[in-house]
Amino acid sequence: MRRAWAILAVPGMAWLAAFFLVAFYAVVAVGLGNITDVYDPVPHWNPLDWNIGYLLQALEDVLPGGRTWPVFVRTLAYVVVAVVLSLAIGYPVAYYVSRYATGRSKAALLILLVAPFWISYLMRMFAWTNLLAEGGYAADVLNTLSLDSLFSAVGLLDGEDWLGGQHIAVIMGLVYGYVPYLILPLYASLDRIDQRLIEAARDLGASSAGAFRRVVLPLSRAGTLGGIVLIALPMFGDYYTPDLMSGSPRTAMLGNTINNYVQGGPDKALGAAMTLLLSAFLLVFMLYYLRELRRESAA
């Protein structure tokens, strides 16, 4: 009986094999393929035909001194800063909602925390750019609070124009866009921590800060890392956020480069090769997250 039911998995597995595995193989085939004289990619499906020329060029590009190296470094920096900021915002929020909020306010907060999932990312980003535009409310508020001068003073803002190709604006955009995706896994992992463990720590003499540091923080580690990976992975493939928040080449990310190659410009083979490199770079994070996910669903 059990064996027969395994058949139910067949359509889904076939679907994923055809449209996920084969699709990824298409990236390999194109990235290790060639192009025609009119810039059409010629995929090499047979591994024996693989041409690593584009891959080598992409590699050369992203290595120090290469054309894409600065973009790579910038992307890395953006993602790291955005993830740190997201944690700084998301962790306290998730912590508060999971451990302190009760009854109706907890229900309301949970609804408000999921609400962004029901508003498309692009719409949120668009709304946010409107506010940051000159004369927009957010810009006014930030300027009134003299945050612009503060950021300028520490070199994070150049001039008072938030949307004028500013690193800080892109990072703020990334944070704005991705925090909701971080908060939910964080919330889930914090919510799982048994209240009695904290009580036990207090009982044994730990102050509330001590209990947080020695019990809550270590126990939420896996959830936190999972959440970080969950937002960092898509950030590496993001191109629309910098497009909307800045539009300057100065703030372009790796996603923009790939998008330019594959959608905007002529060199799909190079784009596919860059995609391969990106995937290879992210593989470690992907595997880590998969492991956590499986561990969690096994528990």
Binding site: D194, R196, L197, E199, A200, A201, R202, D203, L204, G205, A206, S207, S208, G210, R214, V215, P218, L219
Partner: protein
């Protein structure tokens, strides 16, 4: 040297979880809170530990008011029902946790942790994680973690609740041994009557947030004040009766008993093991005829159920000591309810 709970009150919204509880617990006493689920045992303990804010009353320990202190500043420690071990720390780290907050040298920490683990016979498991321990072992880690701090008062919330019967009995003995060795005050919560009777110096039986009766196990068992206490501690026959003119009447039979000035409807309480089964027709005071309705073989004793003429069912424990007469369904018998074992309670 004692822990005094003075008119404690705790409310959760509309629920009055602890309703005017006053208790005085002596130093070195093994004191148990016993009662059915939801009667407020845990809440009382949590008030002492400081996890909940008092809605009324006072808590003093050796004369110091501790009710206003946060949990980590109270000289009491807790062993939680679920143990609440830190899953990310080894056994030794768990046990050492609280010592970080005492001004204790490193070597002293190591020594005390080692001692505490020996005390609970866990020395060989120091490096394991809690997840790799059995229930009984976890329980002992929780105990060691609290004991290592040498608190004057240890609170234990159903520490054996999650264990299976055999292990529970072993650990009862061990807990008692440790308590007596260290001369620590134990405030012990359980809903298991056997456990309460076996281990405690004194037991407070709680119901609906109030203390029904607080006394030594023997007194609670022999002289329960209420039907609730009688029923909760061991099994008991509660036979509907009336008291008139200082005598107890069950159906058409009059029994001698200490009616304690009561009149009107009452319950005649007698423990099954105090009921004597005698051959039908045996005469004498406090003898009532009846018919055996069922005999249940229970290993070392038999449970004989006798239907009286009044309709009441009396359970009678007959020891299986190889000497007693065997009874079977339908036999007419005589039930002897000795006067000194009969108690008259409110219906």
């Amino acid at each position: 040297m004692s822990l005094v709970l003075d008119h404690l009150v705790k409310r959760y919204g509309d629920v009055l979880a602890v309703d005017d509880v006053s208790l005085e617990i002596a130093h070195g006493e093994f004191f148990t809170l016993l009662g059915p689920s939801g009667c407020g045992k845990t809440s009382t303990l949590r008030l002492i530990a400081g996890f909940e804010r008092l809605d009324g009353g006072a808590i003093t320990l050796d004369g110091d008011d501790i009710a206003r202190r946060p949990p980590h500043k109270r000289p009491v420690n807790t062993v939680f029902q679920s143990y609440a071990l830190f899953p990310h720390m080894s056994v030794a780290e768990n046990v050492a946790f609280g010592l970080k907050y005492k001004r204790v040298s490193k070597s002293e920490v190591a020594r005390r942790v080692g001692e505490a683990m020996e005390l609970v016979q866990l020395g060989h498991l120091a490096e394991r994680r809690p997840g790799q321990l059995s229930g009984g072992q976890q329980q002992r880690v929780a105990l060691a973690r609290a004991l290592v701090l040498e608190p004057p008062v240890l609170l234990l919330d159903e520490p054996l609740g999650a264990l299976d019967a055999r292990l529970r009995i072993d650990l009862q003995v061990e807990l008692k041994r440790i308590q007596e060795t260290l001369e620590i005050t134990f405030v012990y919560v359980t809903h298991d009557q056997d456990e309460a009777l076996t281990m405690s110096d004194r037991v407070a039986v709680m119901k609906g947030g109030k203390v029904e009766q607080c006394d030594e196990p023997r007194v609670l068992y022999e002289e329960p004040c209420t039907a609730f206490v009688a029923n909760f501690l061991g099994s008991s026959n509660l036979i509907p009766a009336t008291v008139s003119e200082g005598a107890l009447r069950v159906g058409e039979f009059t029994l001698r008993a200490d009616v304690d000035g009561r009149t009107g409807d009452a319950l005649a309480m007698i423990r099954p093991e105090r009921v004597r089964l005698e051959p039908h027709g045996t005469g004498g005071e406090n003898r009532v005829p009846g018919m055996v309705e069922a005999v249940v073989y229970l290993g070392f004793h038999q449970d004989v159920r006798v239907r009286l003429a009044s309709g009441a069912l009396v359970r009678c424990d007959v020891p299986n000591d190889g000497e007693a007469v065997e009874h079977s369904s339908g036999d007419p018998v005589c039930v002897h309810l000795p006067a000194n074992c009969l108690r008259v309670l409110e219906p």
